[in-house]
Subunit: 404 residues, 2 copies
């Protein structure tokens, strides 16, 4: 995204042009940025060529997943629906990993039949259920165990997943017992040790602690895992202040770790692949003078983008057309929904805005559309991909008649 | 809801029976409880016979709204979609009030054409837009102005709406100016003063303050409003500790207020009409022994019921079958979604649970299904109404094929 002659553009297509053709609100993804992210991710870890499984939950648009699949990425799925989407997007089963604490019998059966790469189990009960279904179907199933390393990811409590008070993974004692159990099973092959400590991690230190914890547990288990699945969680630069996870630094740590382990690394990145490829285009419906701030009432709402209401996330906002004039008054960007949580950002020194102006909300490619809903009976936005300066609709705007 | 021979029932239908027939998760509403709530609401305020406009946003199921409509209630809508739903459910336009801070031109035009009772405007810009459209269509439109009384509802900050830092309503100075403006307009009729200070209010005191603020502003405006729309916000007994808003007490306050004002009262209740009529039936997928608690992993998730993740709301959980045995260990009820926010309740002294057991999450009739999403590509639950001990499907379970 950059301004060309004061007009904000995505790969030379102006926001104005998109809004004129497709109305607002509209999710808009940049193929160029997607390519950059994937190239950068691959390059950062090229010394050990990991299997990169895109975390479908971050963006479930099948057409976008198709593009991601063409770069050779696999998929990390957490439900039957996500597994079906990954397959529909052309991702081969041998590149699909199934994560999640509550896989149902139906989901496990489907995954076994499709012969996906790994089912990463999160509890003893789940292992027993996979074994039961494998036995019934006379199959031998490749599984992983998700280890809970009790590491603090130093991220938001809502998206921290690697501490012992979280529901995820299995603590040391149970992990070792379960390893022994699976080794003896005729219907389960223990292939993978998996771990995932949280989301939007900006510092490499928690990952270092995680690798140390893995070293210890592998030693104690005395087992050579074919795969080590390190999950995702790599943080991106939401604030535009260049603070993001140093992938190369993380890579060095993993390389060191691999000196003692002959395993293939799996990653499950979502946000770091698609987070900054997406913008949400919106039009100012009204400007309302408040007590000590002006409310910029947008046509986009919390149903379209839930992260600010759910995690108090701050997404940068940019005007579609740059004018020189700044305002002294504080601007509070809000949506039309009847809740105080339907609020995006409070900001000083923004440029002067007028009703009907276009703005974009930045970095909404991950957990944007995938968390959207029809709250207040609002239809879901259109999704657009800009590829080689061409506009491609990859998901039509929902019709009111479909939801009334 | 009560236990009959240790089986939890809704109007004599057992939870087991519903789950067996329709699978889980399932939203289940009690017609009896709905009737009780509406009767109680009407009775509490009968001395001044208000127009009760059900807040559609709390539950957007058309079949349920049809039942509510049969009791003579109107609708409070906040979007074109909600207005269409209200009309589809058979609510007459002259009982429909349109609220919300960001009504688009399309929404205003539709509302004017349908001749709804009132468009309650929330800003000067909106009033100008309504006037512009009315003029263009050579119409005269009945409007209200939402006043922001700067009253603290003493509820959650996320659902407080009546303070001056909130986006809602219009402060005193602007209110008085706008009143003058509308009085002179040829295309607008100023019919209503509206106000809404927040949600889940348990104490009558904030309402008393609100009425005092209304008294003052009406005096200053020197105008006789045909309608006074007091909004909703009446809190319900989520904790089951008998703490809920005393409607009769509130009623007395309003009666006193009406001695000085010859106006018809409008209410916009949502939660107090449908909150406690809904339960969400779920099955235990796995029980996982954690460090100092057991995780009860359910087949229902934050996509089905967002309130705990969004507002940290606590909804009571009850077993479908009562057994005597209590456990000493803490139970943490969580969903299968890969987020730490996907958590419903942490509780001590619950009865001993086993995998495949059924439980119900209580009081989910308001802002349950209406806030649901397809996050993690999970289909939305079925919705069922129990009326006269008969089970009626009022919204089918979403199919995976519809969302993949």
């Amino acid at each position: 995204m950059k301004y060309i002659k004061k007009k904000l553009t995505i790969d030379r297509v102006t926001i104005q042009n998109i809004a004129k053709k497709f109305d607002t609100p509209a999710y808009c993804y940049s193929y160029n940025q997607l390519k950059k992210n994937i190239d950068n991710f691959k390059k950062s870890f090229k010394s050990f060529s990991p299997l990169i499984c895109f975390a479908i939950k971050s963006n479930t648009n099948v057409n976008l997943i198709k593009e991601i699949s063409k770069f050779g990425l696999g998929a990390d799925v957490v439900s039957l629906g996500e597994l079906m989407k990954a397959l529909k997007a052309g991702i081969k089963p041998n590149k699909i990993v199934f994560s999640g604490v509550g896989k149902t019998s139906e989901e496990i059966s489907f995954a076994i039949n499709k012969k996906i790469l790994l089912i990463n189990a999160e509890s003893k009960s789940e292992i027993l259920e996979i074994e039961r279904i494998a036995k019934k179907n006379k199959k031998s199933v490749d599984v992983g165990i998700r280890f809970n390393p009790n590491v603090d990811a130093k991220t938001l409590s809502q998206i921290s997943t690697g501490k012992k008070e979280n529901k995820f993974g299995i603590g040391e004692k149970d992990f070792l017992e379960l390893t022994k159990y699976i080794k003896k099973s005729k219907n389960l092959n223990l292939k993978c040790l998996s771990v995932h400590i949280g989301s939007q991690i900006l510092d490499v230190k928690p990952y270092e602690n995680m690798l140390q914890a893995l070293n210890k547990i592998i030693k104690k288990a005395n087992y050579s895992f074919e795969y080590i699945d390190l999950g995702g969680g790599m943080g991106i630069d939401y604030k535009n202040d260049k603070k993001m996870l140093n992938l190369k630094n993380y890579s060095k740590n993993i390389k060191r770790f691999l000196k003692n382990h002959n395993s293939k690394i799996i990653f499950e990145p979502g946000r770091s692949i698609v987070g900054n490829i997406g913008t949400l285009i919106s039009r100012v419906t009204y400007i309302k003078e408040g007590h000590n701030k002006n409310f910029i009432i947008l046509d986009v709402a919390m149903n379209d983008l839930m992260r600010p209401a759910l995690y108090n996330s701050k997404h940068r906002i940019m005007p579609a057309t740059k004018i020189g004039k700044k305002v002294k008054k504080t601007y509070e960007f809000v949506g039309p929904i009847c809740e105080s949580t339907d609020k995006f950002l409070t900001i000083n020194n923004f440029q002067k805005l007028f009703e009907k102006d276009l703005i974009v909300i930045c970095d909404v490619g991950a957990y944007g559309m995938s968390l959207s809903s029809n709250y207040n009976v609002r239809p879901k936005p259109i999704e657009i991909l800009i590829k080689n300066s061409k506009i491609k609709v990859i998901n039509k705007r929902q019709k009111l008649t479909d939801i009334v």
